[in-house]
Amino acid sequence: MDLIYKPWPWYVSGPLIALVMFLLIMIGKRFGMSSNLRTLCTICGAGKHANFFKFDWKSQKWNLVVVLGTIIGGFIGANFLSADISVNINPDTISELSSLGFSSAGTTYLPTELFGTDVFSDIKGMALLIIGGLLVGFGARYAGGCTSGHAISGLSNLQVPSLIAVIGFFIGGLFMVHVLFPLIF
């Protein structure tokens, strides 16, 4: 039982994520999270402004229920299944991060510099979260999927477009971390 409360190793987590994908396939659905963002736009009335949002969102209700579950799962994981939520990253990473000014590295689940409640009164931190969110939403829909839809589902089905998208994910991510982070932080 003790093992459940510790962070789960990759060789447990990866197969469980594959299981989620197969459960969805076996009930006639597909694994993809970012399409929910489009559904949320449609529910908010975006169909009046762009054809892209004109679709029957009720057909996607099932995926919104999965999202609701994902939120509840996060609550359960953090509150009932974890003794200590600090993330034990590589000491080299911790020292790289502290040189960028992230003193919380290695002691928390998310950096308090970006995700502490102080961020609501910190213009720079807020701006970074907003830009990050905009890029995630815009990029996921432009690329037609995110980590779940392309990196897991698409690549599992040996889709070349998904491979191109995942290469793009890494070009963007590496550029952000190696080139832009030293300028931003």
């Binding site: 990759w10 990866g14 594959a18 689940y109 969110g133 996921a140 432009y142 980590t147 990196a151």
Partner: protein, 137 residues
């Protein structure tokens, strides 16, 4: 009944994302620094099982739990949208440290600032919808 099944799968997914630390900004940073095998192990093992399982479903024509045929729609052909869109997504993934699944997990875990990321991601999707016809695909 089916709604309940979706909810349970979602809950399970949320727990896995939290407990695997795939929802941790630090793990994403560490991945892009190539400092740990953790994230590559998660995606790689999910993928290995995924490839194998989908091949089996296709080869043996396995039906869904409801007895329906399982069809995999191929992704639309293209290059630019996948590469350029992917780069935009990757920039955001590294900055916010969360992709769409973990955004919801973190919301449930009680990290309120992730709401800013979520609202912005919905807005980013909206901006894509407005610009769609003007963007190269």
């Amino acid at each position: 009944m089916r709604t309940f099944v979706y909810l349970v799968i979602g809950i399970f997914f949320g727990i896995v994302l939290f407990k695997s630390e795939a929802a941790s900004w630090f793990r994403i940073y560490e991945m892009f620094q190539f400092d740990s095998f953790h994230m590559y192990g998660i995606i790689g093992s999910a993928l290995a099982i995924g490839v194998l399982g989908i091949q089996l479903i296709k080869r043996f024509n396995i039906k869904s739990f409801y007895g329906e045929k399982i069809a995999f729609d191929p992704k639309e052909k293209g290059f630019k949208r996948y590469l350029v869109g992917g780069i935009f997504f990757g920039l955001g993934w590294a900055l916010a440290g969360a992709c769409p699944g973990p955004i919801f997990t973190l919301l449930g875990a009680g990290f309120l600032p992730i709401l800013i990321v979520l609202v912005s991601a919905v807005l980013g999707t909206y901006i894509y919808g407005l610009l769609k016809d003007k963007l190269p695909h």
